[in-house]
Symmetry: C3
Subunit: 366 residues, 3 copies
């Protein structure tokens, strides 16, 4: 009975860039730790533990002035390195506030909660978000009450679309699989590949109809038969992109409608997560109304369909270990299981390294 | 510091028959386990753990079709035996959903949460509920926030009526007991008997006036002096009937007003219960207004008098063991203590059997 | 990971005298125990555990008659000694309800939750509250969600005033300290003294302006330059008085404005406290409007400034041990640290005595 440990040495999405405004302190909890984020005068980003080491007031309740936070309680001032740079009551204390590596990239702020060296090059590549014009990019934020990994598994196994999203994200054109009428993702050809730490799974559909919402909202997709490739990429621990390439039957490859759906899952606590979602598209890039419609639809579908079932599943399993529950493993879980095993190995490796570090420290101390 | 363990091998009231409608899934938690109930096409009743063994979505969020549940998340289908009978993603998995013996009897659905064989003959006999015409039967459901056994003790010791219910369920005609003015249940003659697993306690009152609410609502009881027998029967773990026989002074036995008050207590969690209550009567059986008045009165009295004090008592004792608190034991507790001791013995026996079973399994495995 | 233990052998403020009305039962939780308070016919005060030892109903739900509580559930009656003095169901049980020493003094009710002998002479001396006329005395009660000791530390270190209360309780006349502009408490001369179990800390300010709220509300203080002494006294475990002596520049000592601010912190649970505050003053003693203005201002400042930050700090540290967090200790913490060390020693001493008592009891039993 224990929640899955969290991988600390990884880049996690901490917020959308525009959530952290110049001159303002922004508080959010990641991996059970309270963090305050702010912009520094040199156009950098700072992330400090949101707790003054004197009497533990939240630093986010303080005042920000020139990259320095003044604690609201007794006026100690800290810069972005966590050092106390002003003490109105005497000498500067040596003790510093814990800081976290933080980077701004792809319209997002990324944070690294672990002790190992953080390499900015390891931030998941979401450059498609940079490339999209404002009218072909939309985004949102939600705060579901479940373990973040439930949503990772949700996206890794798109076969759920036919069942959980029959009237929204499922492709039309019901067909028979195993003597049962199902939508077209089910039974589609899957290909799983590893790319370093990342895992990708592709679902290839031929002769698909547009998705249910695409039929209701013309302009979201081509109208006729489509060859559709749905490519999900997971970067540890919770960054995912679902790239959908919809090629109208008989068209050339460069006539495809391409949509990128970003899903970023960051643990807040063991049973709550920050969910950042976005969409960028290659078609109808000037259509402002379409852009907003996509945002609304995605939020609506997520809240009423995915979040609902994942929060209920969280309630059903509580803190029980996934494998102890001896889950049914289906062929369609191949991607989700691969990701889980990889993540478990990384977490075990992290724990082993932490143990080694501790032994080394003890030996050095003798 | 631990809540009283729950007896698993017993029939518990799971719901009123009309709560589970044909073609619909009904979710409720019993003894800390989530269960989904539904009617099968052969007029049977099914009870499955409300958790798909694939990714743990509640089965109650799924679709019911011909006695088969399709999970809302990935479309696995389970029949009432818990077997997976359709998998749109490949071969049928061997793993099944846990099921629970379930029976429909006496206008109620009964569930058995333990591992031992469930004998339908062991369902408490509430046949008086079957016999009552619709206009002489009324019922309700509440969900109090206390351990279910607090309400068992409440009903086993009717002496509380004079103190907790002075203006409703107490008999008028105050008299002196130990130099103190009390209502008539206090000091009444009690007789406790065991009947197999069941325990009965009878409180016999001579020359009683009608109860306070009976005086306010003519028709609920004879108006003059009454010989009253209040017979409480407890069947493990939480099924109770309070039969009240009110015989007007000087009348023949068959002129008695007979009322059956059903109290069914089923643990939801350690500190919450499902409380099903009903009333059937032998008199004024066609009086629809009286019937509804009785239902409303009983709910009102319970909510404002019994539930209020039991929930507060729960708050006062938390998870402390009853006997560790060294409670005062009064002569009027004879029934409640007998029931508690019997239940504790059954729970100990259940634990011993489970241990033996485990040893046997280990021996067999060698 | 454990909350600071609570000192049991100490007088704690349990309520304002007028909270407990004659003939009524008053329930409140102290140090995790539910207590019922009431006035006895001999003008005394009674404090019993708020839990009947029979079936654990709250005694505060019962009836009070002539100093005796009748339990609402089964009618057992207890007097102020905790003895059962009436049992409508048979002989008097020997078991008694736990009682607590309780005293009424300085317009307050004081309770002693420990096992050691309670000496009324040890009640903190707040006689200034008795001396104040009704129009120069005001008070209030709040129920913040943090450990009580956070507020003890808050008052012991008045340097927070300049930072947390810049527009209310901070003195005007900003000056430079360590090259930083600060209000006048910061950098003021502090003197810490011990007086038996008590600790006092004095902050002396010369040439101070009135406080920010004093400048907004004329009449609260002299208008010109002031020599101000702020003397905080702590009596274990949570009784504090902040006496402020404001002497207008050039006046004789007996022309000083003297205000007493009472702060009484009583643990309800580990993360919640009862906070009783009062104010008595030596000046404008007939000014009813001023009196009410002071009460409102103090409540407003506390709720919007101190409570806000202390509740957030509680959230940030959870149940972690204060010293394990290796807090920064500033010169201005001298009073707060002295108090914490004294209290820790008293708690350790109490634990040692309890252990000795247990050993003695075991030896005697052999």
């Amino acid at each position: 009975m224990a929640y899955m440990p969290m991988l600390r040495n990884a880049w996690y999405a901490a917020g959308w860039s525009d959530e952290v405004e110049a001159g303002k302190l922004f508080a959010r909890k990641f991996l059970n730790e309270n963090v305050v984020l702010y912009r520094t005068p040199d156009n950098g980003m700072a992330a400090l533990q949101d707790r003054c080491p004197h009497r533990f007031a939240p630093l986010s309740y303080g005042k920000l002035d020139g990259g320095v936070i003044e604690c609201c309680y007794h006026g100690l001032c800290y810069d972005s390195s966590g050092a106390c740079v002003s003490n109105p009551h005497g000498r500067l204390p040596g003790k510093t506030v814990k800081t976290y590596p933080v980077q701004e990239k792809h319209k997002l702020i990324w944070i690294w909660m672990g002790d190992a060296k953080a390499d900015p090059a390891a931030i998941p590549d979401l450059s498609y978000l940079d490339d999209a014009p404002a009218t072909a990019f939309n985004k949102g934020y939600l705060n579901p009450k479940c373990n973040y990994f439930m949503l990772v598994e949700n996206i890794m196994d798109l076969s759920h679309v036919d069942f959980l999203h029959p009237n929204t994200l499922a492709a039309g054109g019901v067909r028979e699989v195993n003597g049962k009428k199902v939508g077209t993702i089910t039974g589609a050809k899957q290909t799983v590949e590893e790319d370093g730490a990342a895992v990708t799974i592709e679902w290839a559909l031929s002769d698909s109809l547009p998705l249910a919402i695409e039929r209701k909202h013309p302009g979201l997709a081509p109208s006729g038969l489509i060859d559709r490739r749905s490519i999900v990429r997971w970067d540890p621990a919770g960054a995912m992109t679902l790239k959908i390439i919809s090629l109208p039957k008989g068209c050339a490859a460069d006539e495809a409608f391409v949509a990128y759906n970003t899903h970023l899952m960051t643990p807040e606590t063991d049973t709550k997560l920050h969910y950042f979602f976005a969409n960028a598209r290659s078609f109808a890039q000037d259509d402002v109304a379409l852009n907003e419609a996509i945002r609304k639809l995605r939020e609506m579908v997520f809240v009423t369909e995915d979040m609902w079932v994942c929060e209920a599943a969280q309630d059903r399993i509580g803190s029980e270990n996934f494998w102890d529950l001896r889950p049914i493993v289906l062929p369609t879980d191949v991607g989700a299981v691969r990701v889980r095993r990889k993540l478990e190995a990384m977490i075990a490796d992290e724990a082993a390294q932490a143990a080694t570090k501790k032994i080394d420290a003890n030996v050095a101390a003798e």
